[in-house]
């Protein structure tokens, strides 16, 4: 019999691990971004799972507000990162490295 906070807390931790692995091991920038987002989602899940341990039914609202802020910031970061990636691509770089100098002919 496993409690909801522990179950979702461990799930969040594992998700963070999956995201971290993707961030380190994948070469393509968009995959790294997806990994970063998953890592963030895992940490949020951990925080909200822990917030649900409040006795009496209603959860602790402070982590909820913090995670809401976190979701919005994560989306902003993803959007700006994609903008930068597009700019790198336009300047001749490719998505698996950030070199934009064209090789000497």
């Amino acid at each position: 019999m496993i409690s909801l906070p522990t179950l979702y807390g461990l799930t969040g931790v594992l998700l963070a691990g999956i995201g971290l692995l993707a961030l380190v091991l994948r070469a393509h920038a968009i995959r790294k971004l997806v990994g970063l987002n998953i890592m963030g989602s895992g940490i949020f899940l951990l925080m909200i799972a822990l917030a649900r341990r409040a006795p009496g039914g209603a959860p602790d609202p402070v982590p909820h507000a913090m995670v809401l802020t976190g979701i919005v910031v994560a989306v902003s970061v993803t959007a700006v990162a994609l903008l930068l990636l597009h700019q790198i691509a336009s300047s001749g770089g490719d998505a698996a490295s950030t070199e934009t100098d064209r090789p000497a002919p």
Binding site: I18, V24, R53, P59, L83, S90, A96
Partner: protein, 312 residues
């Protein structure tokens, strides 16, 4: 035995693994959208309806749409950036190209992170009061009746101010990039008809969420995201953003400006920064929320559009 939650947790892990491990980028983004929707269910199970609203719209919807759009436009470059099938688990160059070393590093980091956090989760007490009693004690004075909104806009209002500034920065960064030829979307009759039907519903729902946020899950962020989603739909159906000028800049900055003005006005009347007089808080919070909603909606529309039609 919480079978539903066990199943949901297993699916979350499976979808996350698939999102990072998929061969094709397009599959990666699509599975990530599904992951976001499953995460919405997890928020509901954890009694976090505000987060569920935000996750469904932002985490699954906006992030997924941005990823798909980026993959599509990267793929249309002369040099294809949709890395072909050999984009397997290989190392980023600066690590020296030694695959084994990178896997070892990742394994160590992963084990340390998962192990330490996992042990912490398991060893924490099953019940923790947290800050709920303090929030409930001051809820009357906060101006709203929903605890999460009270924390977000009043007790931790400074964090929310900074968050709105972050969104503003994202919009400004969008405008600093030079105009470039954008992916041209041919408006589709079915999509246009659908958007004509759905868009008013989205607007009314956004207004409702903004108003309802004072006593139920909802508030400025959820409403703003709906506005942004409606705008993204209209963009996909062929609408063109107005050119840069005073009004777009004003709309983007409105949230931060209103919040700052309210905070500074408080200082001028003798209260602390972002303090509120007795009984005033509800009105000021609504004013701040309206500004925030418009700014968030506009910023999302801008980010989705990626700077087209708004060159400096």
């Amino acid at each position: 035995m919480p079978w539903f939650d066990l199943g949901l947790a297993a699916m979350l892990l499976w979808f996350a693994g698939h999102a990072v491990g998929a061969r094709r980028l397009h599959a990666s983004a699509t599975v990530y959208i599904c992951f976001g929707l499953l995460l919405t269910l997890a928020w509901v199970r954890l009694d976090a309806p505000d987060l569920a609203l935000a996750e469904a719209a932002l985490g699954a919807g906006v992030t997924g749409a941005l990823l798909l759009k980026a993959i599509a436009s990267l793929g249309s470059r002369p040099v294809p950036l949709l890395v072909p099938a050999h984009d397997a688990w290989r190392v980023h160059e600066p690590l020296g190209g030694r695959l084994l070393g990178a896997i070892a590093l990742a394994a160590v980091l992963g084990v340390v992170l998962v192990g330490a956090l996992g042990m912490a989760v398991v060893s924490l007490p099953g019940e923790a009061v947290g800050l709920r009693p303090e929030v409930e004690a001051r809820l009357e004075a906060s101006g709203v009746r929903h605890p999460v909104t009270a924390v977000l806009l009043n007790f931790r209002g400074f964090d929310t101010l900074l968050e709105i500034v972050v969104i503003w920065i994202a919009g400004v960064v969008c405008w600093t990039f030079p105009r470039r030829r954008e992916l041209v979307l041919r408006p589709d009759l079915q999509l246009t008809s659908l958007v004509r039907f759905v868009d008013p519903i989205l607007l009314v729902t956004a207004a409702y969420l903004l108003w309802a946020g004072s006593r139920a899950p909802g508030g400025a962020f959820q409403a703003g995201v709906l506005l942004g989603a409606g705008a993204a739909l209209r963009l996909m159906a062929g609408e063109v953003l107005p050119k840069a000028g005073v009004i777009p800049r004003f709309l983007l900055s409105l949230g931060a400006l209103v919040f700052l003005t309210v905070g500074v006005a408080a200082v001028l009347t003798g209260l602390p920064f972002l303090g509120y007089g007795p009984g005033d808080a509800g009105t000021w919070l609504l004013v701040i929320e309206v500004g925030g909603t418009l700014s968030i909606g506009y910023a999302l529309m801008l980010l989705f559009q990626r700077g087209r039609g708004a060159g400096a």
